[in-house]
Amino acid sequence: MKGRLKYFWASLIVFLSILGPGIVTGSVDNDAGGITTYSVAGANYGYHLLWTLFPAFIVLFVVQEMNARMGVVTGKGLADLIRENFGVKITFFIFVGLLIADIGNTATEFAGIAGSLQVFGVSKYISVPICAALVWILVVKGDYKTSEKIFLVFSVFLLSYVISAIMAKPDWQEIGTAIIKPKLEMNENYIAMVIGIVGTTIAPWMQFYMQSAVIEKGLRVKHYKFLVADVFIGSILTVVVAFFIMVACGATLNKNGVVIAEAKDAAVALKPFAGALASQVFSFGLFIASIFSAIILPLATAFYVCEAFGFEAGIDKKLKEAPAFYALFATIITISAGIILIPNAPLINITIWSQVLNGILLPVVLICMMLIVNNKEIMKEHVNGKAANIIGWGTIIVLITLTAILTLLPVVKAII
């Protein structure tokens, strides 16, 4: 563990895993894209899509439990395991895809930063370059003590959505009824929204992040029980935040028939119905979530890609010694922040296409995971049991079907 960057990375993950890998993954999961999806769902369908958070929770929990188990048993990252068991070609396909998708996702995060700060009257031409520079400095300077404090504050502030929701004065009885007796619809928009919610809670890069976090924390089989609890809490937190976002938007925007396309719109639209403060709290949460993910996502991506292909990843401090790592990180930040600065950038298309790419990658990653987690040579006695396999494959089949529809829908629409 020489070198500043690797040290920073290790320290960052060690710190984050004090909260628990599952909890952190869950927090990063509610990024700008997630908040957008939940806001739109709340605005368009009120409380009638709250039920989707149950299947989303199950999927999240089942998949991350497998990552946790693979991590504690092997001590290898998911990138390592895929490379070692499926060779260079599949690994290359996954990581090139992941790289592109993550550039798109990071662009969404910067859009979240730009949008949320616009609510406070800051122009995106000021906020985006400054935040991109901050992200770069935080990683390159690697003062982990400072970032430690920043991240701690970040995670706590995500709870601001609970406040926004309460300020929107929702009708709790109505919410209860909507959960128990959801109004199911059978039209294209409704189905797309359901898929969107489940899909946004589980992105391919999270599997890699989760497993690495488990390893960096030095967790072993003996810690497994705690880890499962941590994954459970993390998954709960993810859906709880999602729940309150949907409630906040459902209680105000849906009741008044306001239609939105972005998370920022939700923040703006909240103002007349729940007050300026609620709107600001909502924007603040969006800003925190976006910058949190804008740091973790590029860093994680650069790290896995280097790991899988055996490039030096911050093992040595100097730029010359880890060129691939620095180049990747800089490229992701620059492109994704740059896209947002282009006037009239086709942001919606970027979001859709990175979602499509995620949709294609997810089944590949999940199938690799299922094969590894069932390989006795790797997992020994910790291979999936019968029940875990039924749930696991079941989840994957459902997920593949859903993502296939989600992936094809916008493509078909774009063509027509």
Binding site: T74, E84, G218
Partner: protein, 429 residues
């Protein structure tokens, strides 16, 4: 000239031959080359067999059944026919390994560069009738070859950055310096021997870094191959979690052997982190003297002077003369059984009466008794002093060592500056 090269020293890559079609002596396809088995007893492992796979099964075919010059050709030709396969017996020496399964794409240790590397490809050499592995390819070019775009890559780099040779030249590490680390299950069926000198060449702290970078299975297997005395040094450098894990996976006898060779304070720290019964099992296997010392040290709380101290130090009586003290110091340095030679402690009836530094000794006359040379009022602490305050004393008085004494003045042990630095690092992190 070209022809000669083909017949004699022809280098080629593993990735280029895996999957090629294999024909029998009647020119009939019998399957595809799926793996290569080598004997690791040589500096450059020799190919002893190939594995041919078809729809029905895998055949292990000893290398002498092959037309040697066809190994790197698109058509690999056997000297026997498919009907003869049933007569083949696979009887190998112990030290064998399948290259694709166990080496390609895996992490192995580069002992020369003291780091863990990932195998992108393997360079092999056909020399006369012998085929062996010569280098591990760890470069970008090897990756591109695996993806089947080596030439395209070369052209692209040449077009964009013609002067950047490092991008498209091959990056090899000679097999001489690498060490495959297999999972412990594989390693059990395989006796990998690494010459002791190869580990001695490396700084124990670097081996510790390598261990931490390997996965859990590989760590176990590597530590099993490291001689006890080096393992003791290495495990003094690994982080607490890794050290504990690796000691716990050893048989009690070996764990005891390794801990005996460590500084007693370090050994006590490691044992203190373990489950009590497990620690006791290991202590029971240790030599009585070391076991007693460690047990005594285990009594002290972490983060106190007692927890930081070691009981291995050099002590003299006040009447000892300087020449004799220096002789003892030289002897102790040779034996390496004390942690520091920079300071020695003057004890009368078990009680600390002074400290003498190496510098004092060198400046003194040979016949002077130590009582005339020593510092009669050394700084000292009691075992229950907080580690934080101990660190403050080291900083204030610029100490290298600090004696730990009981209220009664009896010398219990000493704290060396490296223990303090380690404590501070742990705290700071």
């Amino acid at each position: 000239m070209e022809n000669r090269e083909q017949n004699y020293n022809t280098p080629f890559f593993l990735s280029q031959i895996i999957g090629n079609k294999v024909f029998d002596n009647n020119e009939a396809v019998v399957g595809k080359l799926s793996d290569i088995i080598v004997n690791l007893s040589y500096t450059y492992p020799k190919v002893i067999a190939i594995i041919v796979k078809n729809e029905k099964q895998d055949y292990v075919i000893p290398i002498f059944n092959l037309e040697p010059s066809t190994i790197y050709q698109k058509k690999i030709i056997l000297k026997i026919s498919e009907q003869d396969f049933s007569k083949l017996t696979a009887d190998f020496p112990e030290n064998t390994l399948a290259l694709k399964k166990s080496v390609l794409d895996q992490q192995i240790v580069d002992l020369n560069g003291a780091k863990v590397i990932r195998v992108n490809d393997l360079r092999m050499l056909k020399s006369g009738n012998e085929i062996s592995v010569t280098d591990v390819d760890v470069g970008y070019r090897g990756l591109m070859r695996r993806l089947g775009v080596e030439t395209l890559f070369e052209k692209m780099v040449f077009a964009v950055k013609p002067k950047n040779l490092s991008l498209y030249s091959n990056k090899f590490v000679s097999w001489e310096y690498v060490h495959p680390v297999l999972s412990s299950t594989q390693a059990n069926s395989l006796k990998l021997t690494v010459p002791k000198e190869q580990f001695e060449m490396l700084n124990p702290a670097d081996i510790a870094d390598i261990l931490e970078e390997l996965d859990y299975e590989q760590r176990k297997s590597l530590i099993n191959q490291i001689p006890d005395d080096i393992a003791a040094k290495v495990l003094s450098e690994t982080d607490a979690e890794t050290t504990q894990e690796l000691i716990e996976t050893q048989k009690e006898e070996r764990a005891a052997d390794i801990l005996e060779q460590m500084a007693p304070d370090k050994a006590a720290d490691i044992l203190g982190d373990m489950r009590e019964e497990k620690a006791q099992d290991i202590i029971n296997q240790m030599d009585k003297e070391e076991a007693d010392t460690v047990t005594e040290l285990l009594e002290y709380e972490d983060n106190t002077a007692g927890g930081l101290m070691t009981t291995e130090f050099l002590s003299f009586s006040p009447t000892t003369i300087v020449v004799n003290a220096i002789q003892d110091l030289v002897k102790a340095s040779e034996d390496q059984d004390i942690e520091t030679i920079y300071e020695a402690f003057i004890v009368e009836e078990g009680k600390l009466v002074g400290v003498v530094s190496l510098r004092n000794l060198m400046l003194a006359h040979g016949h002077q008794p130590l009582s005339e040379v020593m510092n009669k009022k050394p700084v000292a602490v009691t075992p229950d002093e907080k580690a934080k305050d101990v660190a403050a004393l080291f900083s204030k008085y610029n100490l290298l060592t600090l004696p730990v004494v009981q209220e009664s003045g009896e010398l219990e042990g000493i704290i060396t500056v490296d223990d303090v630095v380690e404590f501070l690092m742990r705290k700071w992190q």
